[in-house]
Symmetry: C2
Subunit: 206 residues, 2 copies
């Protein structure tokens, strides 16, 4: 096993909330070096022909998703409250996370954003809320908000989202090891297993 | 634990091939009484606004699916050959399976149909092939083909497909216990667990 395993996440995604709360501990147990990779799902949805979450566009699928996520949260002992607005605007939160890539506090910040959205049902686009989260991570909100909103900060998230698409990512969460993409929290263990065996056997299935 | 757990399946579905090859043994290990429920996905796709498999309509999603299914088959030790035509016409096979509901040979017949499609890359709409499978199950092909093609046989599959939709099914495979729907082979264990605890706790998550 070598290299890192990437966890690509969109803050507005329900299933990603479930995965985000579990992935850090699970990776640590396996001795896997995890890298948190924020991106925006909206532009990738647009490229698939959707101008909204497929769960809103397809009500049958949506109804199932809400039930499924509630069941998953119950299974994993996670609190959950269906947000009064879905999907929430994750742009600023994602820009902050993108600027904070590689910083030790990013995973905790990310989990807090998910908690705001899916447990507290509050607006993750609210600058005051994000500032409060940054402070709780011991960081200077003003500095990070400025970084997030700078041209460089905006460009960085755009570039990461583009990279996600180039990797073949179309949904969140996605796990990437080498160039192998696994989509969905229910593929986490498969991604870990693939990563552990080092990708050498990837050629076996062509 | 009481009652049965239903396995709703569409013969043309790749992920359902993987689940169909595993579900019987897995249910037996858990002491769960499994009922095989054939239905057609096409009419349910139509109601979701699609005139083809979403994997064909969305090439990025499709490319991922083929890779994912190949990985799953490798993981579970199942042979797999990407069919030269996808999705295949499953109407006649589903009508036969529908007519054969409750018969002991149905699961074996169903697995053989999946094998024809996803291992041998042959046409599951071919009457000769289906007749051969019926013979290998010890059944009289002429009688079952006649039943499948009778007005009653046609109506039965129509009614089952309608029932699937009413249950909230929109994809294949789906597991149903009581009125609880679990979609996807990766929800098999969750469906089993839900079934075991008897649905009583269903109220806990509303």
């Amino acid at each position: 096993m070598s290299g890192t395993l990437e966890f690509w996440f969109e803050f507005a995604s329900t299933y990603t909330y479930v995965a985000a709360m579990r992935v850090e501990e699970a990776a640590r147990r396996e001795g896997i070096a995890l890298v948190w990779k924020p991106f925006l799902l909206g532009p990738l949805f647009k490229r698939q022909g959707w101008d909204d979450s497929p769960y809103n566009l397809n009500p049958v699928r949506g109804r199932y998703m809400w039930r499924d996520v509630a069941r998953l949260c119950e299974k994993h002992g996670l609190p959950f409250q269906r947000p009064s607005r879905f999907p929430r605007n994750s742009l600023l939160a994602a820009r902050i996370a993108c600027a904070a890539q590689g910083h030790e506090w990013l995973p905790e910040f990310a989990r807090q954003v998910f908690r705001i959205n899916f447990v507290e049902d509050r607006d993750i686009a609210d600058e005051e809320i994000l500032a409060e989260l940054l402070r709780s991570c011991g960081e200077d909100p003003g500095a990070w908000l400025a970084r997030a909103r700078s041209s460089e900060g905006k460009e960085r998230l755009r570039a990461e989202t583009e990279k996600a698409w180039e990797l073949g990512i179309f949904g969140s969460p996605s796990f990437v090891t080498d160039t192998e993409v696994f989509w969905g929290g229910d593929r986490m263990e498969d991604a870990f297993a693939w990563h552990r065996r080092g990708g050498m056997d990837a050629t076996r299935i062509g």
